[in-house]
C-alpha cells in the first residue's frame, strides 16, 4: 500500500504578503484569501508542485526550517486544515 502523498500548488499560483508576523495568502486558482501562521507557509513552500509523504515532509520541515514544535499530530492537524481549504491536495 503506497503512503498518501501531499502536494501544494506551484509557487506562482500563490501571492503572499507578510503582515505583522502573519501571512496573507491569495490562492489564484480559487480566488480565496487566507491568513496563515507558521508553519503553514513553510509547508506550502516545501510541497510546492511536488508530492511528498507525511514522513518526508516532517523530515524536511525539521531540517530546513527552525520548526521545533513539529510533533506528529500537529503536522496532521495543519495538513488537514490546508486540505479542507483546498490549498493542499492528498493523492
Amino acid at each position: 500500500m503506497t503512503a498518501t502523498r501531499y502536494r501544494a500548488p506551484p509557487a506562482d499560483a500563490l501571492l503572499i504578503r507578510e503582515l505583522d508576523g502573519l501571512f496573507a495568502l491569495y490562492h489564484r486558482p480559487s480566488g480565496t484569501t487566507h491568513l496563515l501562521a507558521s508553519p503553514a507557509p513553510e509547508l506550502l513552500d516545501l510541497l510546492a508542485d511536488r508530492a511528498m509523504t507525511r514522513d518526508a515532509l516532517l523530515d524536511q520541515l525539521l531540517r530546513r526550517y527552525d520548526v521545533t514544535d513539529a510533533a506528529d499530530d500537529l503536522l496532521d492537524a495543519r495538513l488537514s486544515e490546508l486540505i479542507a481549504v483546498g490549498l493542499v491536495y492528498a493523492t
Partner: protein
C-alpha cells in the same frame, strides 16, 4: 435623468415623475454623463400600485432577487439603495470600501465600521470644519496608484444624527425627512458645492480610522493584520476583484497607519480625529 458622482455615471428612470423631479432638484449641481455606467429603474411594483398605496421597486442593471419594495414616500431611499447596489455589484475599476472619507491638503482619512458607528456623521461634521467631504458610503481605491477617489453622493443621515447635523449645519441643503423606513428615520444632506466641484480630485490615504460609539474615550493602535481582515469585511468587491483586490488592500494596510477610536459624543470624536491627524 442622469448624473455623475465621481467616476460613476448613473441613469435613473421611474414610473413616478415626482420622484424623478426630487432627484433632479437634489442633484442639480452634479455634472451629467453622456453615457451612464449604470442604469437604475424605480418602477411601481404593479400597474395599480402607481396610485393605490404607491410602492417603488428597486431595479437596475444589477438586482437582488429578494429586494423588498418601499412605499413611494421613501422613494429617495429606494433610489439610494438602487444606486448603491449597482456600484457594489458592478463597479470594478476601484476597490470599494464601505467607509466615509474626508481630505485635507491632498491627504485623506478613511473611516469604516459597523452601521451606526458614526462614519457618515463624522465625515459630514468634518466636512463643515475645513475638510473636503469625499463620501459617506463608498471609498474608491485605485488599485494601480493607491489613491482614493471621491464618491460624494447625497449623505444619508439616520435617526439621532439628523438632529446633530441639522444643528451643526443649519444652512445645509437637506432632502425631505423620511420617517419609519426599514433603517429608521432618514434625512439626506447634499454635499457642499466645493465638495461637488472637486469630486474628481484624488487624495493619498494617510489615516485609517475604525470609530465606534462607546461609553468612554479611547484610542487604540490597529495592526496591519487586523486592518486587513476588517477591510476585507468592509469591502463589497474585494472578492470579485481577485488578485488586484488582494494587492490593493495589502498595499493600503502596509502603507497607512490605522487606529480604533471609541467616542462618547460628536465633539470628542472631532477632537480625537484632529489630534490623530496632527500625529499622522
Amino acid at each position: 435623468m442622469s448624473f455623475r458622482v465621481g467616476p460613476v455615471g448613473f441613469r435613473v428612470g421611474s414610473d413616478f415623475a415626482a420622484l424623478i423631479a426630487t432627484l433632479r432638484a437634489l442633484y442639480a449641481d452634479y455634472p451629467g454623463p453622456e453615457i451612464a455606467h449604470f442604469t437604475v429603474r424605480l418602477p411601481a411594483t404593479a400597474p395599480w400600485r402607481r396610485f393605490l398605496r404607491p410602492s417603488v421597486a428597486i431595479e437596475g442593471d444589477y438586482m437582488l432577487p429578494d429586494a423588498a419594495p418601499l412605499p413611494l414616500a421613501q422613494g429617495l431611499l429606494a433610489a439610494e439603495m438602487a444606486m448603491n447596489l449597482q456600484v457594489a455589484l458592478g463597479h470594478r475599476r476601484h476597490l470599494l470600501l464601505h467607509a466615509s472619507c474626508v481630505e485635507r491638503d491632498g491627504r485623506a482619512i478613511i473611516m469604516t465600521g459597523e452601521s451606526g458607528a458614526g462614519k457618515s456623521t463624522l465625515a459630514t461634521l468634518l466636512g463643515a470644519r475645513g475638510w473636503r467631504f469625499m463620501g459617506d458610503e463608498f471609498v474608491l481605491v485605485d488599485p494601480m496608484t493607491g489613491d482614493v477617489y471621491a464618491f460624494p453622493r447625497a449623505i444619508s443621515l439616520k435617526n439621532e444624527a439628523i438632529g446633530v447635523v441639522q444643528h451643526a449645519i443649519p444652512g445645509g441643503r437637506f432632502g425631505p425627512l423620511l420617517r419609519n423606513t426599514p433603517k429608521g428615520d432618514i434625512r439626506h444632506l447634499m454635499p457642499t458645492p466645493d465638495a461637488i466641484a472637486r469630486m474628481d480630485e484624488p487624495a493619498r490615504p494617510a489615516l485609517l480610522l475604525f470609530p465606534a460609539f462607546g461609553a468612554s474615550r479611547d484610542v487604540r493602535e490597529v495592526g496591519s493584520v487586523e486592518a486587513f481582515v476588517r477591510l476585507t469585511q468592509a469591502s463589497t468587491n474585494y472578492t470579485a476583484l481577485g488578485e488586484r483586490g488582494f494587492d490593493a488592500l495589502a498595499d493600503l494596510v502596509e502603507r497607512v497607519p490605522a487606529r480604533a477610536i471609541d467616542y462618547p459624543d460628536g465633539q470628542t470624536a472631532l477632537a480625537m480625529v484632529e489630534a490623530l491627524w496632527e500625529a499622522a
